[in-house]
């Protein structure tokens, strides 16, 4: 505990770095995942091949993935964001796709029959109805990025992993403890915050928490 009190500014800075990394990963994941998921929802035969590729990416060990990207993106946060975004696609798209494909067909047929165009159907009907599942996907992405993100400290991406690596090298247990504690706090906070958003989205549709 002493370590945290004496080095609060250092820990806080690393905490913010970690948060920034996670937010960047969520942002880029959504940028790719939302349109890709929509495409898969529309074109059924694409689902198998795309999901297998995403599954294969997910199995690449994180440390080797980071290292593999260094020749292309150099050291620092860029290869970390790329790798974590690539992992995130499986979690995000799987959930988003379930959200989109489990919308009651009658609801979509009614929307079409009433004369809503494709864009209106997406914004007014599909997006709000699939939103709880999308948020569930985002929550998984946040949690996995916070976890795997600690390893990104190895390629100089900063974040709370720095405390862990330094602690291990210097056998400084209070440093390791502080790092682990900070990661846990971040994970819990992220989990509860996104879960809260999920429940709000669910409440609008179902009128109760599920």
């Amino acid at each position: 505990m002493n370590y945290l009190v004496n080095n609060f500014n250092v820990v806080a800075e690393l905490f913010l770095q970690h948060l920034q990394l996670t937010l960047a990963v969520i942002f880029f994941s959504l940028l790719i995942g939302i349109p890709l998921g929509l495409l898969l929802a529309r074109i059924r035969w694409l689902r198998g091949p795309v999901m297998s590729v995403l599954g294969i990416i997910y199995t690449i060990p994180s440390l080797s993935f980071f290292v593999l990207l260094i020749p292309i993106f150099g050291l620092g946060t860029r290869p970390a964001i790329v790798a974590l975004t690539a992992y995130a696609q499986l979690l995000l798209i799987r959930n988003w796709l379930v959200g989109l494909t489990t919308i009651e067909p009658a609801v979509l047929e009614a929307a079409r029959g009433m004369g809503l165009n494709g864009w209106q159907r997406f914004w007014q009907i599909e997006f709000p109805l699939a939103l709880p599942m999308l948020l569930a996907g985002i929550r998984l992405v946040a949690l996995s990025s916070i976890g795997i993100g600690t390893i990104a400290a190895f390629i100089n991406a900063g974040g709370l992993g720095v405390l862990l690596f330094q602690g291990v090298i210097t056998a400084n247990y209070s440093k390791i403890f502080t790092g682990a504690l900070a990661v846990t706090v971040l994970s819990f906070a992220a989990n509860y915050f996104i879960r809260y958003l999920e429940q709000r989205a669910e409440f609008r549709i179902y009128g109760k928490r599920i």
């Binding site: 009614a110 009433m114 809503l116 109805l129 009128g207």
Partner: protein
């Protein structure tokens, strides 16, 4: 002077319906890629504006396909469809759909929107002003018999019958000339179904919309329809009023569809006034309701009384012999026996 007045008032009664609700199918055919046979095969029919027309037939006969081609949820392979003199493909598809009310069996209300938002969605798409939308909402709620206090509620807070009423209000929201209804009451329980049917008849007489109503339920078709289109295997078999279907069935399929005891169904299709009118014109009896001469009509002990009365009516006699399986005569049964049986049984129940 008086003659002029009469003729002009007669004219206004003659043409209360806008012709823009007319639907014409011209050699319409549609084959789905998954099937080798056509779902709809060379259907040509003219539906008069303001009529409530039921598309009737067994499942897979193409009635829903035909309906969905009107609002272009399906595209015909061949043929043309005209609405109020305009071929439907001359309009942008969403513009066309916003002019046509659409009600489906599973209702398909938007679960994340209040009743108010659900109903006002098409008027909003059409850019109506807020005041006009609110007036319309109030009028529609009154029309479907739900309190205005329901407007801020969500669909899940309503019963199945109430949801289908809201579905109907949503379809009527932008005041379309045409309403397409795809088995709208099939998923509602029997009591509510009958109530909804009555309300629809009532609503139709008030609004004068052209309603195209799909069902496989013969009773429902006969209750609602001004005219019935009977389809089978993609083809139009007969198009006529319920009475025409019963009295002049095109073939055995229609005969079977409208029921073997169709003589009783006639009872609900003809009113007392028809009898009074028929008396003035004696030929009515001989031409339309000529008793079927079957001297060999025989009752069996296990026949139910509904078929007995139907057989009595058809035979033109007042009583019929009852025989068992060995052709032994057991006695005679007639109208008076039925009356006694029914009346004496009622209070003791």
């Amino acid at each position: 002077m008086t003659i002029e007045m009469i003729s002009s008032s007669a004219e206004t009664i003659e043409t209360p319906v806008s012709e823009s609700g007319e639907i014409v199918f011209e050699h319409v055919s549609k084959t789905f890629a998954t099937n080798s046979y056509p779902a709809v095969d060379q259907v040509s029919v003219r539906i008069t504006a303001g009529d409530l027309v039921v598309l009737l037939g067994p499942s897979g006969c193409g009635k829903t396909t035909l309906l969905k081609m009107v609002n272009r949820l399906y595209e015909p392979d061949r043929g043309k469809i005209w609405i109020g003199g305009k071929e439907i493909h001359t309009l942008p598809v969403n513009e066309l759909r916003r002019q046509i009310g659409y009600v489906i069996q599973q209702v398909g209300l938007f679960p994340h929107m209040t009743i108010q938002k659900n109903i006002s969605i098409v008027p909003r798409l059409l850019g109506w002003e807020e005041k006009r939308i609110n007036d319309r909402l109030e009028m529609l709620m009154q029309l479907i018999g739900l309190p205005v206090s329901y407007l801020p509620r969500y669909p899940r807070q309503l019963s199945g019958g109430e949801q289908q009423r809201v579905g109907l209000a949503r379809a009527l929201a932008a005041d379309p000339e045409i309403l397409l209804m795809d088995e709208p009451f099939a998923a509602v329980d029997a009591i509510n179904r009958e109530r909804l049917q009555t309300e629809l008849i009532d609503l139709h007489s008030k609004l004068n919309k052209t309603i195209l109503f799909v069902t496989h339920d013969v009773e429902e078709a006969f209750r609602l329809a001004k005219k019935i289109i009977v389809m089978r295997a993609g083809k139009l078999v007969q198009y006529g009023s319920p009475l025409e279907l019963v009295t002049q069935p095109e073939n055995e399929f229609i005969e079977e569809l409208v029921g073997s005891n169709n003589i009783l169904r006639k009872l609900s299709l003809v009113n007392v006034n028809s009898i009074l009118k028929a008396r003035e014109n004696q030929s009515f009896y001989t031409s339309k309701f000529q008793p079927v001469e079957k001297p060999s009509t025989v009752l069996h002990p296990e026949d139910d009384l509904r078929s007995v009365i139907s057989l009595l009516l058809c035979s033109g006699k007042d009583s019929l012999p009852v025989k068992d399986s060995e052709d032994q005569l057991l006695g005679m049964v007639g109208y008076s026996d039925l009356r006694e049986m029914l009346i004496s049984n009622l209070p003791s129940e």
